[in-house]
């Protein structure tokens, strides 16, 4: 539990998140218009999306299936009967004057999500519901001093709104929740989780209370578009609320906006007015009825999800919870690891993947999919160490080249002549030369200064350009010094 230390004592943050995840469909939820990102304004708009007179919605089957898949991935109850409602309000980017959403009877009910915290512990957060709804269009405010421009390309795109219970207790937990949710969505393939392009957006409900006290009044921070900003916005908002309360004020329930330049939350003027959404079942649509067999069939096609994969990695590969967590976070990483680990020591494979590879990728700003070092090549490198072709130290050098050029490790070793020297005669010759050049130090060693052993090893390795087999060097050196 991380409390905020205020002037008057400790405060606990209570957070619930509403995530809008755009479904990776070709066409919109209720129209046949395309969903691709970055198209010319209003070019991916049907008359249905623009709410022309007489236009009617017809639901996209794929979107229904993805909502069910995601619900199953969240271990949630799938409601075989759900209802589409109209949420009525006027806004520039909402052409019909209502959003088709699900209110009292969503397609997915209660589920759960396990947070993997950085310290290796885990915590379960409740999912309240998941429902299907339409996205709104986009208002552009910077094109004209007195006008807003409306692009309806996004209007009608399918969203899953995934609502958590107010179970999160810190900004870090909120971050972990989003990372985990994104991971599950990507495993399932229902959403690409790309927050920069807006295909995953987050509304944060934040309140504070004295530890153990009833919930305080919450503020909703709308449409935060990166995990980093979610963490920053929650931290800012919680401290703001502490300040207000400690100064004797009260929190007003309101919608706030995260200002990405000033890094503050501020009240949204457009949402000041109290809403009365007048939900009612959309008479253009009928209740959505799911066949239980269909749901069962979908269940069978679900991929292994991060939690199950993590458990398997710990069990089968004997990895630490932390390593397993890092590896399963992205399916591509987990797959990469499993290719490397196949027929090799999994522990060594995990160390290479989570250590060297992730470090290099991170530094280069690359995703695992773009890794210059293929899983096969990394496996080959590990094999070269295992069969004593190269030493672990040389391997690092080879890896560096692999990352730069994408070449096969064996080719690099050959080209650069890095093959380990295992010829005892050659090593003996090198050792003899080192001992002969350092007679004084040999005396010191023999009179009890054991620490000098490392010096001799270093000199031998230097003389052999690091290629001497370290085990042989140790063995022969010991014999010669002691003998």
């Amino acid at each position: 539990m991380s409390y905020i230390q205020g002037e008057t004592g400790e405060w606990e943050i209570v957070i619930g998140l509403e995530v809008h995840a755009q479904i990776t469909s070709n066409a919109k939820l209720f129209s046949g218009a395309a969903t691709a990102f970055g198209a010319e304004p209003n070019s991916q708009v049907s008359f249905v999306d623009a709410a022309f007179p007489g236009m009617l919605p017809v639901i996209n089957e794929y979107c229904v299936e993805q909502a069910v898949r995601t619900g199953l991935g969240l271990k949630a109850k799938i409601n075989l009967h759900s209802v589409f409602d109209r949420k009525n309000y006027f806004y520039a980017d909402l052409p019909s004057g209502y959003q088709i959403s699900q209110y009292q009877q969503p397609i997915v009910g209660e589920g759960k999500l396990v947070l993997d915290m950085p310290d290796g512990t885990s915590r379960t957060v409740g999912i309240t519901r998941l429902h299907l709804e339409q996205d709104a269009g986009k208002s552009l405010h910077d094109q004209h001093p007195a006008k807003s421009y409306i692009d309806l390309n996004r209007a009608g795109v399918a969203l899953m709104e995934i609502v958590s219970e107010p179970d999160l207790r810190s900004a870090e937990e909120a971050g972990a929740y989003l990372r985990k949710l994104r991971s599950i969505l990507r495993y399932i393939g229902s959403c690409d989780g790309n927050m920069e392009e807006g295909s995953m957006r987050c509304d944060c409900n934040v309140s504070i209370r004295r530890p153990g006290a009833p919930f305080g009044t919450r503020c909703e921070i709308k449409n935060v578009n990166s995990i980093r900003f979610v963490i920053a916005a929650i931290e800012y908002e919680a401290r703001r609320q502490v300040e207000v309360l400690e100064e004797g004020g009260t929190i007003v329930q309101e919608t706030r906006l995260w200002d990405t330049t000033k890094l503050v939350t501020r009240s949204m003027r457009s949402k000041e007015e109290a809403h009365d959404y007048r939900y009612f079942p959309d008479p253009d649509l009928l209740p959505l009825e799911l066949d239980p067999d269909w749901v069962e069939d979908i269940k069978k096609t679900l991929p292994e999800l991060p939690d199950e994969k993590k458990a398997r990695f710990i069990e089968d590969y004997k990895l630490s919870a932390y390593d397993a967590g890092v590896l399963v976070n992205e399916k591509a990483r987990a797959d990469y690891f499993e290719t490397v680990a196949k027929g090799r020591d999994p522990k060594i494979a995990a160390n290479w993947v989570t250590g060297d590879l992730f470090g290099y990728l991170n530094k280069a700003g690359k995703e695992i999919e773009d890794s210059p070092v293929s899983a096969e090549n990394l496996g080959g490198l590990i094999d070269l160490i295992a069969d004593n072709t190269i030493s672990g130290r040389i391997a690092k050098e080879v890896f560096d080249t692999m990352f730069e050029t994408g070449e096969k490790p064996a080719d690099i070793v050959e080209k650069k002549g890095l093959r380990q020297v295992t010829d005892t005669g050659a090593i003996e010759g090198a050792i003899d030369a080192v001992l002969a050049a350092n007679t004084a130090k040999v005396e010191e060693f023999r009179s009890g200064k054991d620490k000098l052993f490392g010096f001799f090893v270093g000199q031998v390795m230097k003389a052999t350009q690091g290629k001497a087999n370290p085990a042989l060097v140790n063995e022969i050196l010991t014999k010669k010094l002691k003998g």
Partner: protein, 95 residues
């Protein structure tokens, strides 16, 4: 249920319909009369009666996820009272 002027003004704003102040009184009377008429329904026993939203006795039909529509920005915009550079244009919205 009898509606007063303030309530009518509130509903009218919710519906985004400008109603001149001098019409509110009369409108409140008319709407109250209609509400009085529909409140006859309170005589009907509807305990344990499920609500009926549609008489269409079928399941919601689903369409395949195929792009079949859109791609005609000009047609979408051609009826627009004010458009510019491929956008609909409205007075500036402050967020």
């Amino acid at each position: 249920m009898s509606l007063d002027k303030a309530t009518v003004a509130k509903i009218a704003h919710l519906a985004r319909i400008r109603v001149p102040e001098e019409e509110l009184e009369h409108l409140a009377g008319e709407l109250s009369q209609i509400l009085g008429f529909i409140e006859q329904l309170n005589e009907v026993d509807t305990d344990n009666v499920p609500p009926l939203a549609s008489t269409a006795a079928q399941k919601l039909r689903r369409r395949p996820d195929v792009v079949t529509d859109g791609g005609y920005a000009d047609a979408v915009l051609q009826n627009g009272p004010e458009t510019a550079e491929g956008y609909f244009v409205v007075p500036k919205v402050v967020e």
